[in-house]
């Protein structure tokens, strides 16, 4: 379980904190969705959750980040690497740059952690299979398209088998098929007990896999609750977050002053 207790974080040299008094809980087997306008603090929250902030990113953190009840402050980045994994939106910077093949790229993380060779191979095979990219195993990662590289980056994260996964807009560059594959992989991992934090603009995707959702605005967690409730919350649009298609449609229908019979037909079709 990953816990934030009143976390305030300010990047080095910034005049304002990027996160303010954020408290949240990411439980085992749960997918927690993170929504908010660009620059509301989603990426920063992901960096703090993974430990990269303040360790590599610098800056100051007040409040506490707890991993299974233990304060993470004294832990070094490499101690966290096996327990919390993170994936970013842009694949190019996530590739190690030293792997000649996709296989080596996916194996990079567990290799660093000194995982025994047999297990290393098993994990890599599994990660490739989870995202259905076995056919790419012998390809040079640098020659792949952006979407393929993103799948490779996420596979690299899966190979670490962390108990907690943090993903910052992982499907931004993916086509609908790739997006679906990632969503399915995440749902499967949560079903096996992983805790997953995923920041996304695609609220329809989140509606499909998240049990709870947190909405950020100006660095504060302003909404936190069950996914269905938060996604239907009218305040979401004011926060710059597009609601899922069904919610948007219902709202538009209500605003359009349609007669009750028409509304009922719509409702029936949405429910079916």
């Amino acid at each position: 379980m990953l816990t934030f207790e009143l976390v305030t974080y300010r990047y080095a040299g910034a005049s304002q904190p990027s996160l303010r008094d954020v408290s949240l809980e990411l439980r085992e087997g749960e997918v927690l969705g993170l929504v908010g306008a660009s620059e509301a603090g989603k990426t920063t929250l992901c960096l703090v959750a993974s430990g990269l902030a303040p360790r590599t990113a610098g800056g100051t953190l007040t409040g506490r980040v707890l991993l299974d009840g233990e304060d993470t402050a004294p832990l070094a980045m490499h101690e966290l690497a096996g327990r919390i994994g993170i994936a970013f939106a842009s694949p190019a910077t996530q590739l190690s740059g030293v792997a000649a093949t996709v296989y080596e790229e996916v194996a990079f993380g567990p290799m660093n952690l000194g995982v025994p060779r047999r297990e290393l191979i098993a994990r890599t095979d599994e990660a490739l299979a989870a995202l259905q990219i076995e056919p790419l195993a012998d390809r040079d990662p640098a020659q792949l398209s952006g979407g393929q590289q993103q799948l490779v980056a996420i596979a690299g994260l899966l190979a670490l088998r962390p108990a907690h996964l943090v993903l910052d807009e992982p499907t931004a560059q993916l086509d609908p098929a790739g997006t679906e594959m990632v969503a399915a992989a995440l749902a499967g991992l949560a079903a096996n007990g992983a805790s997953i934090l995923v920041a996304e603009q695609k609220t329809d995707l989140l509606a499909g896999i998240c049990s709870r959702i947190v909405a950020l605005d100006g660095g504060r967690a302003v909404l936190d609750g069950l996914a269905a409730e938060i996604l239907a919350d009218p305040r979401l649009a004011d926060l710059g977050v597009a609601p899922p298609a069904a919610v948007r449609l219902r709202r538009a229908a209500a605003d359009a002053d349609l007669p009750p019979a028409a509304l009922a037909r719509l409702e029936g079709a949405l429910a079916g």
Binding site: H78, A81, S90, T93, V98, G114
Partner: protein, 230 residues
């Protein structure tokens, strides 16, 4: 006088460069590259010694004020062979060794993974930068940057082309560092290797023999043996 004959270097080239190159199917490439590499030094050695060797007397031919000598020619050939032996060996080495294989082998023998990473990443940096530069060039051309006009126009294009290549690379550094650290890169100690170049007993023996041969040959020459090698 003389640096010492042709038999020694000829044997070295034959056994140490030509034979392995033939076995690896690389003889044409090794020959071409080694020759090209030897050209600058080789040409100057040839000219200097052919015409200007001190104490040489047997005349080969004359061109204007310059006199080519037989001793000079022999000396030049001796030097050329030695140069070819060196360039042949270097060429053979880099044509038969993948950088990754070399670096991973060093890592297996105890070099820090972080050092290995830097060595490997620097090899990959060039193609990655080239690919980036190609995309950037396309993007800027799409904005009307003229890459096909006069030299002045093309010079003006340097900043819009070099700018994103450099800026983009620098801007990426922080994110790349974070991605590496998040994947356990900074963990002290060694890491598990997926593969490394195989090393047989025969290869190990050959390596030791080669290493021992150096001091032995030096001593032998100092003692005056091996004179027949030249």
């Amino acid at each position: 006088m003389g640096v010492g004959g042709v038999i020694g270097p000829a044997l070295l080239i034959g056994a140490g460069v030509v034979a392995p190159a033939l076995a690896a199917g690389l003889l044409p490439r090794v020959a071409r590259t080694a020759t090209l590499m030897s050209l600058p030094l080789g040409i100057s050695a040839l000219l200097v010694n052919l015409f200007l060797l001190p104490g040489a007397t047997e005349v080969l031919f004359r061109i204007g004020p310059l006199t080519a000598t037989v001793e000079g020619l022999r000396f030049a050939v001796e030097i050329l062979l030695r140069i070819l032996a060196i360039t042949g060996a270097i060429t053979l080495f880099y044509l038969t060794t993948a950088p990754a294989a070399l670096v991973l082998d060093l890592e297996r023998r105890g070099v820090s993974p972080r050092v290995a990473f830097v060595a490997l990443a620097s090899v990959q940096t060039v193609p990655a930068m080239v690919e980036r530069a190609v995309t950037i060039t396309a993007a800027q051309r799409a904005r009307g940057l003229d890459t096909e006009g006069s030299i002045w126009r093309r010079l003006r294009g340097v900043l819009p082309l070099a700018g994103p290549v450099l800026l983009g690379s620098i801007a990426e550094v922080e994110e790349r560092t974070m991605a590496l650290e998040a994947r356990g890169f900074t963990r002290p100690g060694s890491r598990t290797l997926l593969w490394w170049p195989p090393d047989s007993t025969l290869q190990r023996l050959a390596r030791w023999l080669l290493v021992l041969a150096v001091p032995l040959v030096i001593v032998a020459r100092a003692l005056g043996w091996l004179g027949w090698l030249g």
